[in-house]
């Protein structure tokens, strides 16, 4: 493998890490002012990873960028609106508009802690991860699933840097399986609920970005694996 290719792989992994980092932050908790500020100042959404490769990503990023440009999100009432958008969709206390757990979709009855949760838990355990609030919180929360992929991508990068190619391949395969067996099962239903139920373009946009990213991820990973194998 040429150094150049390795360099390309590294770059791609960094892009993926950044994408997962932003997404996990967007979904794991209510929007912090700092998070919004970072997106705003660095114009991150304008140059979000793979923005040119995937239509949904670019549409979502555009929506968020426009929103951040046209609305003073840090102004109290706008910020409250954004905050409530997250709370009401993902926390409660009214019926959740878009339950952020995989089991809510696989169980068809909006349930937590189902077999899917166990499968996800066991997958994390293979890499010695547990949710910070285990066993009180369900392992298959979108924020945790994205965090898991972030962590594995990071490990892949580290393996690559240490030239542990086999390990990197194995990690990538693991990510691919996880996306196929889990995220892809529910992400379109989940993001659709957000797109229909969100009041701010912020979360509508984030839903599109998430959806688009999860769609192209297997292609990216496939290419990474093939390149590493070659």
């Amino acid at each position: 493998m040429t150094d150049k290719k390795l360099e390309g792989i590294k770059l791609l992994l960094e892009e993926r890490m950044l994408a997962y980092d932003i997404l996990r932050l967007a979904y794991v908790e209510e929007p912090s002012r700092e998070f919004v500020k970072t997106l705003l100042n660095d114009k991150l959404m304008n140059s979000f990873p793979f923005i040119e490769e995937e239509e949904e990503i670019s549409a979502g990023c555009r929506e968020i960028s426009e929103y951040l440009t046209n609305t003073d999100v840090l102004e109290e009432s706008q910020y409250q609106k954004l905050h409530w958008d997250y709370t009401k969709m993902f926390i409660g206390p009214y019926e959740l508009i878009a339950p952020p757990w995989e089991s809510a979709y696989t169980s068809k009855e909006r349930l937590l802690f189902q077999e899917t949760t166990l499968q996800v838990r066991n997958t994390y355990l293979k890499y010695n991860f547990i949710p910070r609030h285990y066993p009180h919180e369900a392992d298959d929360h979108i924020g945790l699933e994205l965090d898991y992929l972030y962590q594995l991508t990071k490990q892949t990068l580290e393996a690559g840097e240490k030239n542990k190619i086999q390990r990197a391949i194995q990690l990538l395969e693991e990510q691919n399986n996880f996306i196929k067996e889990h995220l892809q099962i529910w992400i379109s239903e989940f993001t659709e609920k957000i797109i229909n139920g969100a009041e701010t373009p912020f979360y509508r946009g984030m839903a599109k970005v998430l959806k688009g990213f999860i769609i192209i991820e297997p292609l990216i990973i496939k290419e990474l694996i093939e390149t590493l194998k070659s």
């Binding site: 770059l11 950044l18 009401k88 802690f113 990216i220």
Partner: protein
Amino acid sequence: MKGFIEKALNYQLERRTFLKASAATVAGLTLTGCSGGLQAVSDAVAKDIASKEEEWITAACWHNCGGRCLNKALVVDGVVVRQKTDDTHEDSPDYPQQRGCARGRSQRKQVFGVDRLKYPMKRKNWAPGGGDKELRGKDQWVRISWDEALDIVAKEFIRIKEKYGNRAFFQGGGGEIARTMGLLGGYVSNWGTTSWGSWRWGPEKFGMAEGFFAHSINDRIDLRNSELIVIWGANPAWSAGGSPTYHYLQAKKAGARFVVIDPSFTDTSEILEAEWIPIRPGTDHAMLLGMAYTLITEDDPVKNPLIDWEFLNKCVVGFDAEHMPEGANPEDNLKDYILGTYDGIPKTPEWASEICGVEVRAIRKLAREIGYTKRAALFTGWAPGRTHSSDSMPQMFMALGAMTGQMGLSGKMTGVSCHFGTANGGPRLVTNGGNGVPGIKNPVSDTLNHAQMWDAILTGKYTAGYNDVRDINIQLIYHGGNAVLQTREGMTKGIEAHRKVEFVVSNSHFLTTNSKYADVVLPATTEWEREGGFLTGNREILIFYTKITEPLYEAKDDIWIAKELAAKLGLDADAVDPISAKQKLFNQLAGATIIKENGNGMEKLVTITSSDIAQWGVKGEPQHGRITLKEFKEKGMYQVPRKPKDNYGFIAYEQFRKDPAANPLNTETGKLEIYCKGLMELIKSKGFTEIKPIPTYNPPVKGYEATFSDWEKKVKGEYPLQVINPHYMRRSHSIFDNISWLREAFPNPVFVSVKDAKERGIKHGETVLITSEYGKTLRMAYLTETLMPGIVGLPHGAWAEIDEKTGIDKAGADNVLTGQIPTGQGISGWNTCICQVEKWTGESLTPDHKWPQRIIF
């Protein structure tokens, strides 16, 4: 398409710099300690978690559902994979399994529902003193920490106490928080007749049991000796899950004929192939009088013995002028009242029929049949007592049993047969011990009646007793449990009351109606997330359940909330919760008793060894019992096996009937009191309405008579229909209403008779608007021939879903239609409610299980 790698390589240096910089800033934000995210653990920890094996654990089904069944969960590391019910022994009529209903089998859908309240939350526009109080029920919410939540609650307690004193605190329910509020100096409590209606406190005055804590009917095996079983206003097939209907079936197989008196032809009637006698709600007393008239006028001790004179002579006071208690006016006797000797109105079957709608023929026939049947069981549910002004009705029910002597012998019984005790009277054969926690006194004595409490909060006045109206100024409502805003009458007023006070806080599992109108909501654990406990139901079983899963998210036990709040308030938190959960459980185990094999007295149930005690880490003494702790926990239930002629049977009033002088009842005269001064005084003392010492008929407020604007000319008024609230299999009161597969299985329509529907042009399945003086609600109409015309069946307990713009509820919440009407002993009179039903011209309802998510803003 170019490869991703190639593209990445083509990126300018700029992009690379950007990536690095962004990665660094974003990483700087990375997940804080209190938020989610993953954490790395050691190999050993990971391995330990991954190796957890599945096990069956006995799971609580703890609701006030009228049944009690064994529920088990197959659990893997807190995740419930499957549920099952009783398979601890073979099923037989004598020794039946305690098998669950659709609700119990959906229990995990409640515990693990995504809409569980997961964090403490506060209403966004709340501020000390309430902020914008009108926004309660429609505000936005913010997740807060436990510390902040408890701080807010504690500060409001202190602020309000300083400003108004302890009489400003209203405690809606929940024994745990009551302890903290007691220590803080007390609170205004609430009281009412709840499910019992007029069966709650009156019966003990005239010599009968209320039917839950004690029973006046024989046990289920003796019931097989009855030839005729009359069930008045009870539908156990819907309202008492588990085995009650099965017990009735055994009596049927043994040859009993069933008669069911009810506004609707119920599943119970169908299963038992009963004769159905349709009757109007709140008029049972009139029918009883008509029957008594038949007995009195047709009885001939020789040729046609319908009345059991021997029983009346020996065991009863007040039936006629010759059997009056000392000091009573002899004219005040039941017989002369029925014959109309002094008021000129004989309570003939014709008189009764005009009121209750039962055919004259049917009234006479049933009276005769009860009179001449040797062994009859006269049963009633509480539903007929859940009617306004009905304090004398239970006494009249007793009088019918007494007149016909259907009491105190095998196959002969009269009394309440519902809830746990349906078809199976008698003291408990197995029971758990106390948990050892001493009570905490409430220094405030004010207490508000359910039928008046919302009004009292709004008007500042309440009735404390006869000629005793007091001022009250409630400014804080704490719902530590229960569902009073949903399940007590007059919800519209209740919501208004919640929007009036300065602070409302509620512990709950979901955003129930109580919580919806609160300022702060605190997530409580369900029984599945707690240490464990005991459940009793019918007299033969004791269920021992244990923890299934860890508390979900930040949910806490109610007792933890009470304790932590006490600490914040500077109170003695240990006094609130002095004993560990494990020790409490142990105390109940150690104190559990079972009936001795010879049937005389109780003995220890559980064998506990010193190694059990060490393993549990509790204080206690080893003891010998019927079952080992290990076996009890594994089985999850102890059931006393029964068979005919065993030592565990029960004949109510047996000793009393044999020798009333030696075995007096706990009444003023020691006898059954058809003339009951104690009852009259009890009712008077409440300060609402009064009754006579003998059971005279009082037309109920909002009863059938009230559906007319002119009773004499029979001109119907604005609200021509009567509403009853059947207990519905989708829910246990209000619990389970949000479970989607139960919603699908039980769509919760309003039942309308075909005749009434036709008159209003309403078709099956169409949305209708139900209006009463107090509120409006929407439902899909279910047209049926099984309901007496003039009556509407609106199932009890649906979670209100009030449209803030129109004020119309769309869930069919029963208490939207009821008002705050206190009568008699403070009866909650749900089954006396009048309404109009019309076709709804607005948008039709979609089935509940397909309801779009609740979008409020």
